[in-house]
């Protein structure tokens, strides 16, 4: 073991790197990387991101776990990303295994491989990475000589489509659970030489709250193909696995020395995490349900982290991240303080996700004192009726006021995000999207005529396709057929013919597959294998998406993707993910679904009465607002 590491590094620099695109993806000596002793560290883990380097390196979870694990003396964590096709070809041609960036260690030499599941269309990359790492794809085929393969992240809330391949899932926030898992491996490794016995290890891990081991559960299907029963096979496993959650964000580890990539990555900036969770309760939004409750970090701690980050990274931009950063209690004072601290160094501040109602153009102007970029708003639906259905509590007036103020302040480009195919959507809702876009463009033109804007007015309208997601009020809804989604996009394309407007849309066939896996069950593991064998990978990269291969894979396995994506599921039916407990009760989700169909909105529990989602009592945590000040929404 270990013998391959040095040759791998020299083969790479001498023969391979000059032949592949963006060789910087594979170098592994970026600033702040951690290179621990391979021989002296008892437990070795690879963090595997099933997409390209530049996507994976933008992920905050990776930064957190990389720092957290590497701070422990007995553990090391190294990175591995999906190699781009040219690199994969070079590796396969030479029979070389996929390796980690820090030690150039073959994947199979690690004790533990941890995949993060950020989106469904990265699943084939997981199979491809395991195969390139020379690790058996199926959990059942692995022996004591193989690493343990675990996975976490939002898609782990419906783990079933990956149940064949993943030994153990982490449900919820990984910071605490991961150290417990690594600790268990260290303990077992110290009691006998070599790798722990898999059966012993899995039984041990099953006792850790938040750990789900699919092999310990048996699924029975009913006559119509629906999941009938999910039964625990072993006496010690819980019937439902409950999400792990960090109670106090001020006390949890946060990395202040993250890696600084050489190449440009998707989010190439300092990330300051303001809070976790969002309780606005948009009914399509999985993140809004599974990350509950809202837990803010204190402004003093954020300022201290900012200071350390600026010193250790050297980026020119700082982003205040969370699901809805404008909602942070002390957002205005925090931004002012940060600007005062760093403006002289040429460091700009950005707010990636502004809601229209918590948005003040003053705030945006403050933020963009150093560098000016575009503004993005997400009304999601074109009419008030539909916005009430999805519980997106913003009005057209909010949007028009905000964009008007933005144009008045000199912005010329505005982006608007919508969804098509939402439950109960009608023609009038599509008309509403076009109306809003045109009204916004007209506002821009009027300010242009007044001389406030010199550049061309640019309104970018993007529509994604609604995907019903597990653990949301819309989990029972069917997705529109692909042809219907296409018609809706065509209709909008006609209506948005205006030289000030650019219209972007998502490929409905990709959203269709996303819906299949978002609501899928264990049988889809066969489909994943078949699709990967035919050559599917990087499915979310349009140049690689192979629709025909996917359809052939479903046909081969005798499974109907339409049944998974487009079927309206009755409340009475057992859902494939019912044994995974996010803390939000099914009863609440059903009530929210019924309210949606009745067009009744639900208020945000931070400012109003408890809405009874169940998360606080179930997980024994509370909503934590630490900003001290009033929110923008309240102060309006």
């Amino acid at each position: 073991m270990g013998g391959l590491r040095l040759p791998l590094r020299s083969i790479l620099t001498d023969q391979i790197l000059s032949k592949v695109t963006k060789p910087t993806r594979y170098i592994g000596t970026e600033w702040n990387t951690v290179h621990k002793s391979w021989e002296k560290t008892p437990v070795k883990m690879a963090f595997a991101f099933p997409d390209l380097y530049e996507v994976g390196m933008s992920h905050l979870g990776l930064r957190i776990l990389y720092g957290l694990v590497n701070e422990q003396p007995d553990f090391l964590l190294e990175r591995v990303f999906a190699p781009w096709v040219d690199m994969e070809e070079e590796l396969r041609r030479r029979g070389l295994p996929l390796f980690s960036l820090e030690s150039y260690a073959p994947l199979r030499e690690f004790d533990l491989i941890g995949f993060t599941l950020q989106y469904e269309m990265s699943y084939t990359n997981i199979l491809n990475m395991l195969d390139l790492g020379q690790i058996p794809l199926r959990s059942a085929d692995r022996t004591n000589d193989d690493p343990l393969v675990i996975a976490g992240g939002p898609c782990a809330f419906n783990p079933e489509p990956l149940a064949d391949f993943i030994d153990c899932f982490v449900i919820g926030e990984g910071e605490e659970v991961l150290l417990e898992i690594l600790g268990a491996i260290r303990e077992l490794k110290s009691s006998r030489p070599g790798r722990p016995d898999r059966a012993v290890l899995l039984r041990r891990l099953a006792k850790i709250p938040g750990v789900y081991i699919p092999a310990f559960y048996q699924v029975a299907y009913g006559e119509n193909g629906q999941v009938e029963e999910v039964k625990a096979r072993e006496p010690m496993v819980p019937p439902r696995v409950i999400k792990r959650v960090i109670a106090d964000l001020d006390r949890v580890y946060f990395p202040t020395r993250p890696i600084v990539p050489f190449m440009e990555i998707v989010h190439d900036r300092i990330m300051l995490e303001l809070f976790r969770g969002c309780q606005r309760g948009c009914r399509f939004c999985q993140a809004g349900m599974i990350y509950r409750p809202v837990r803010e970090r204190s402004p003093e701690i954020l300022r201290r982290q900012a200071e350390e980050l600026v010193k250790s990274i050297g980026y020119e931009e700082m982003s205040l991240t969370s699901l809805s950063s404008g909602d942070y209690c002390a957002i205005e004072s925090l931004i002012k303080q940060l600007l005062n601290d760093y403006e002289k160094d040429g460091i700009s501040i950005s707010l990636p996700s502004l809601r229209i109602d918590s948005f003040s153009v003053n705030l945006a102007q403050e933020v963009q004192r150093v560098r000016k970029s575009g503004l993005t708003f997400a009304p999601e639906a074109g009419t008030q009726r539909l916005r009430d259905v999805i519980n997106k509590n913003v009005t057209e007036d909010d949007l028009l006021q905000a964009t008007n103020a933005a144009f008045a302040a000199g912005w010329s480009a505005v982006k608007l995000y919508f969804m098509v195919g939402l439950p109960t959507e009608e023609r009038a809702d599509l008309d509403g999207i076009a109306d809003i876009a045109l009204r916004v463009a007209d506002l821009g033109t009027s300010w242009q005529k007044r001389g406030h804007i010199k550049k061309r007015i640019q309104v970018t309208v993007s529509t994604s396709c609604f995907v019903p997601k597990a653990h949301t009020p819309f989990q029972w809804e069917g997705q529109d057929p692909i042809s219907v989604l296409q018609e809706k996009q065509d209709y909008l394309r006609q209506k948005l013919r205006d030289k000030r407007i650019t219209y972007n849309w998502h490929d409905p066939s990709l959203s269709f597959l996303e819906a299949v896996f978002a609501r899928g069950d264990r049988r889809l593991g066969r489909v994943l294998t078949a699709a990967w064998q035919k050559g599917c990978k990087f499915d979310s990269w349009s140049e690689h998406f192979k629709w025909d291969y996917w359809m052939a894979a479903f046909a081969e396995c005798g499974l109907d993707p339409v049944w998974y994506a487009q079927r309206r599921i009755p409340y009475s039916e057992r859902l494939p993910w019912d044994h995974i407990d996010s803390g939000v009760s099914k009863r609440y989700l059903q009530r929210e679904h019924e309210q949606a169909l009745a067009g009744i909105v639900t208020a945000d529990c931070r400012y109003d009465a408890c809405t009874g989602c169940g998360v606080c009592p179930t997980l024994e945590v509370d909503v934590q607002l630490k900003g001290g000040g009033q929110t923008a929404a309240l102060s309006r």
């Binding site: 620099t13 032949k19 600033w31 010193k311």
Partner: protein, 235 residues
């Protein structure tokens, strides 16, 4: 504003950072300078960026032993301190060799550098005697023109690189061909070391491996006849 102190930095770009692009190199140096707390002078406008200018772009995959950049600071620092603080924050493979204060009105590096020295190591596919190598090199130098194919955005062009080859020497070492070449660079015509190998293959018939070349740029100069380095120019 043009009174800000300006420094000339000689640095080396080794492995593994030889594979980062010029743009990424600029960003890497800039971020390291920020980590070091250097008082970087920033350009004005919508997108302020540090005032750093480079001597000559080093192609991806080629290491450089004597590379140059100029940087402006808001306040004066002893060159040794600038070097030490910056170096401490640089990733492996980037080494600052020397830093000097230069006159603020010194001409831009890009406009004065006109030739580059390279060392190239490439495996031979045939076994050649040292004499055969010398003959091949003499043959190249004796040519009045050496036309090679150059890929450009407009497609493949025929280019005569002979005027850009200022010196060429070579020897055999362990089945490998070691070449030293002095080539014209910059706006007055630019020759790449790979193109010289292409010419050697084509005009002198030496058979070399097509991959695993090691190319190092060993120096950048002003004036091919005197070979003054950009650092020497300042003193």
């Amino acid at each position: 504003m043009d009174k800000l102190p300006r420094y000339r930095v000689e640095y080396a770009k080794g492995q593994p950072v030889a594979y980062i692009s010029h743009l990424d190199l600029a960003k890497t140096l800039e971020r390291a300078a920020r980590r070091a707390g250097l008082p970087l002078a920033l350009s004005g406008g919508f997108n302020p960026h540090p005032k750093v200018s480079f001597g000559s772009v080093l192609p991806v995959g080629i290491t450089g032993e004597h590379e140059y950049l100029d940087v402006e600071l808001l306040s004066e620092l002893p060159p040794q301190e600038l070097k030490a603080r910056w170096q401490e924050k640089l990733p492996p493979g980037l080494e600052l060799r020397e830093v000097r204060l230069v006159p603020t009105n010194a001409p831009a590096l890009m406009s004065v550098i006109d030739c580059a020295r390279y060392h190239v190591r490439v495996a031979l596919l045939t076994s050649n005697t040292p004499d055969e190598i010398q003959t091949a090199i003499q043959k190249i130098l004796a040519q009045e023109s050496l036309v090679i194919e150059r890929d450009s955005k407009k497609g493949v062009r025929q280019v005569d690189i002979r005027p850009g080859i200022l010196a060429l020497a070579g020897r055999i070492d362990n089945g490998r061909l070691d070449l030293d070449m002095l080539l014209r660079t910059g706006s007055q015509g630019n020759v790449r070391p790979e193109e010289v190998i292409q010419a050697i293959k084509h005009y002198a018939g030496l058979s070399v491996q097509t991959e695993g070349w090691r190319i190092t740029r060993t120096g950048l100069y002003i004036g091919a006849d005197k070979l003054v380095s950009p650092l020497e120019l300042t003193s």
